[in-house]
């Protein structure tokens, strides 16, 4: 049987070519995926494989100048409930009772809150103490979710609360140092990128890339807690005794501009803060930097410093007081309508004679007087490190509502509005050698690694010469030690100062209510502290000398004793 031989044909190449084309397409695709677009696909794969999480940095603490804690963050939990898990009534009851027991909430309220919210995860308790929250989470309460959080605690209570300020629910500072230094205190958040499993949890020993969170630096205030306690206690007592509505005390180191104590009354309470109460909301504003007042006779110190520095008068220069001075035909009287006759410039400050201040201003001339006001920093912020600072109001000859009498009134502290911090800063310049310093509340910052950065003292001007400053110290020393009883005279230390009593201006006139103040320093030769005591609307209508002077005197004795300054009044030293 003959075999038929297969005929040669080219059709066999058809599938071969088809396979070859298919292989080429696959190869091209592989080249595209694995080489040309490698980075893109690798990135997509990574995004599927890896998850990331933000690690929040620990907020820096706030300490007093000697390292005592005033504010710090402690760990808490924000508790949420997955509402779907509570669809079963028995589960909801059991879980809500467990949460209620730990948080102090009512269990019925919790169930209503969760089941009627319409949300998937419902916030049921904020800032639960760490231990209590941990115990709840470890107990596997159905539906309970815990998110770590922190809360600000104040170990010294409400001490310096108006300086420290408050935090919002989102852990950012709203007022005070917390707000001004929020960016620094916050630190730098970190990030963790990790290989995840199907539930999104990190795979043990999987690849992990970590950028460590950098905690915020601790802030060291210039505030001394002992002096702050003394100031707050003295202010509270003075307000009660003088039936004042409110008040403030500032203690500054006149050599550096550091604020050693800053007390305001009423003060905000960290624990009882209720932001739905408008009265409490007003307390968030620090009156020492935000509230304006007419300084009254304390301003005569600035007028005298300017007149002496310009060389128009000396402490011994005399003039004749007739109890009235006419400025452009408008009469200006002394505060008590008194007539003092021939007086030296020192006598003008001792007796607080308005016509004497007008005399010095007229010697200077309006333009030069205003140059000095400018040089002392009036009418602009001091740039202290607190938010909400007011610039003050200084009516100038170029203003449309300027009156020629204004300069005369300004010379004894009317027709000019200042903040307490402006007044303290200007007075510091009159006694510290003539240097206008930037007041400050922060002394240093300490980073997490222990690196300490001290904030430098900033001199922003030289309104008067060191010689004038020395003269002013002696003149103000004579005010407090005039040879007769003065309520502002400390028992153990020499001191200088000046009182002020000003009516509250209302609609281009003056109300019956008054603001009294006393600003002074001690010791006279080498001032260590400058203290401003201010009482608003004291119902007993005592003058600045009578109401605020004794507070100044007792504070000088207390804080200089605390600072270890030896008494320099002979009578006391030989007791």
């Amino acid at each position: 049987m003959a075999q038929q031989q297969a005929r040669r044909t080219g059709r066999v190449w058809l599938p071969a070519i088809a396979f070859a084309v298919f292989a080429a397409v696959v190869l091209a695709r592989l080249v595209q995926v694995q080489i040309l677009e490698h980075d893109r696909y690798a990135e997509e794969a990574r995004s599927e494989l890896y998850a990331s999480d933000t690690v929040f940095a620990r907020r820096g603490a706030i300490l007093d100048r000697n390292g005592f804690l005033l504010a710090m963050s402690t760990d808490t939990w924000d508790l949420y409930v997955a509402s779907r898990v509570w669809n079963d009534d028995a589960t909801a009851r059991r879980a809500s009772e467990a949460i209620a027991e730990a948080t102090g909430h009512d269990s019925t309220y919790l169930r209503t809150l969760v089941l009627e919210s319409g949300l998937v995860d419902v916030l049921v308790a904020r800032d639960v103490p760490y231990d209590a929250g941990r115990a709840l989470l470890d107990a596997n309460v159905p539906g309970l979710i815990g998110l770590p959080n922190t809360v600000r605690v104040h170990p010294a209570g409400d001490l310096a609360s108006s300086v420290i300020g408050i935090m919002g629910a989102d852990n950012t500072g709203l007022t005070g140092i917390e707000a001004w230094y929020d960016a620094e205190l916050l630190g730098t958040p970190g990030r963790v990128i990790f290989e995840r499993d199907t539930t999104g949890s990190p795979i043990p020993y999987g690849e992990t890339f970590t950028t460590e969170a950098v905690p915020g630096p601790d802030i060291i205030l210039t505030i001394d807690r002992r002096m702050q306690v003394a100031a707050e206690r003295a202010l509270k007592q003075a307000i009660e005794e003088n039936e004042a509505v409110r008040g403030s005390i500032v203690i500054m180191d006149p050599r550096t501009g550091e604020i050693l104590a800053l007390a305001t009354q009423p003060r905000l309470s960290f624990e009882a803060l209720d932001l739905s109460d408008p009265v409490q909301v007003r307390l968030l504003r620090n009156s020492v930097v935000s509230d304006l007042y007419e300084p009254g006779s304390v301003m005569k110190v600035i007028t005298a410093a300017a007149a002496i520095d310009a060389g128009f008068v000396t402490p011994e220069t005399t003039y004749e007081d007739r109890g009235i001075a006419f400025v452009y035909g408008i009469p200006i009287f002394n505060w008590n309508n008194g007539v003092y006759g021939e007086q030296t410039m020192t006598g003008v400050l001792q007796q607080s004679i308005n016509t004497g201040a007008v005399f010095m201003m007229e010697e200077l001339g309006v333009a030069l007087f205003h140059e000095y006001l400018e040089a002392f920093g009036f009418g602009r912020p001091t740039y202290i490190d607190l938010s909400g600072e007011a610039a003050g109001l200084v009516r100038r000859p170029t203003d449309s509502d300027w009156s020629p009498v204004d300069a005369a009134a300004q010379s004894f502290g009317q027709a000019i509005s200042v903040t307490p911090i402006q007044m303290v800063t200007a007075l510091a310049a009159t006694i510290n050698g003539g240097r206008l310093l930037e007041p400050r509340l922060v002394k240093a910052m300490v980073a997490h690694d222990g690196t300490r950065y001290d904030l430098p003292t900033r001199v922003i001007g030289q309104p008067i010469s060191p010689e004038t400053s020395e003269t002013m110290r002696q003149m103000l020393g004579a005010v407090i030690d005039p040879g007769w009883y003065h309520p502002g005279k400390p028992r153990y230390y020499t001191a200088g100062g000046k009182s002020g009593t000003a009516n509250v201006p209302i609609d281009a006139s003056y109300d019956d209510t008054q603001i009294v103040s006393f600003a002074g320093f001690a010791p006279v030769d080498e001032p260590r502290v400058l203290i401003l005591v201010k009482l608003d609307e004291n119902a007993n209508l005592e003058t600045g000398t009578e109401a605020a002077g004794p507070v100044f005197a007792s504070l000088v004795d207390e804080v200089l004793g605390y600072l270890g300054v030896p008494p320099n009044v002979e009578q006391a030293a030989t007791r």
Partner: protein, 131 residues
């Protein structure tokens, strides 16, 4: 040269496998396959256990850090001026009425022990650097 004519002694023997029957080889193969299959399971189990341990240790570390911060806050609260004053009154102390200043030639008491990084450069409050 007789020695050169002698064949060299055998210094190396070829690999001799144990003499197993067919069923022996099947069992051995099954064991190897089983061990190979179990190895990832065991490894995974060990890693999971260690991961759990690690997680627990991290939790413990967090708890200790939290406790440390709570203790810091508690210490700060205990040494607050208000509390010390209150306790002083409770144990019968009264504020001094008349201070008496005495000059002595000896150094004062040691300053309080607080963290060095929080101490001011000058030990005396208010004595910052003069510009």
């Amino acid at each position: 040269m007789t020695a050169l004519d002698q064949p060299a002694p055998r210094t190396h023997r070829g690999l001799s496998l144990p003499k197993l029957g067919v069923s022996g080889w099947v069992v051995a193969g099954a064991l190897i396959v089983s061990a190979s299959a179990m190895a990832p399971v065991v490894q995974n189990s060990l890693m999971t256990t260690q991961g759990r341990n690690l997680e627990a240790l991290e939790g413990e570390q967090t708890a200790l850090q939290v406790e440390m911060r709570q203790l810091e806050a508690e210490i700060a609260r205990l040494i607050s001026v208000d509390r010390i004053a209150r306790r002083a009154l409770e144990i019968g102390l009264v504020p001094g009425a008349n201070a008496i200043f005495v000059s002595i030639g000896e150094a004062g008491p040691e300053p309080p022990k607080i963290p060095a990084e929080h101490l001011p450069e000058a030990s005396e409050p208010g004595s910052g650097p003069a510009p």
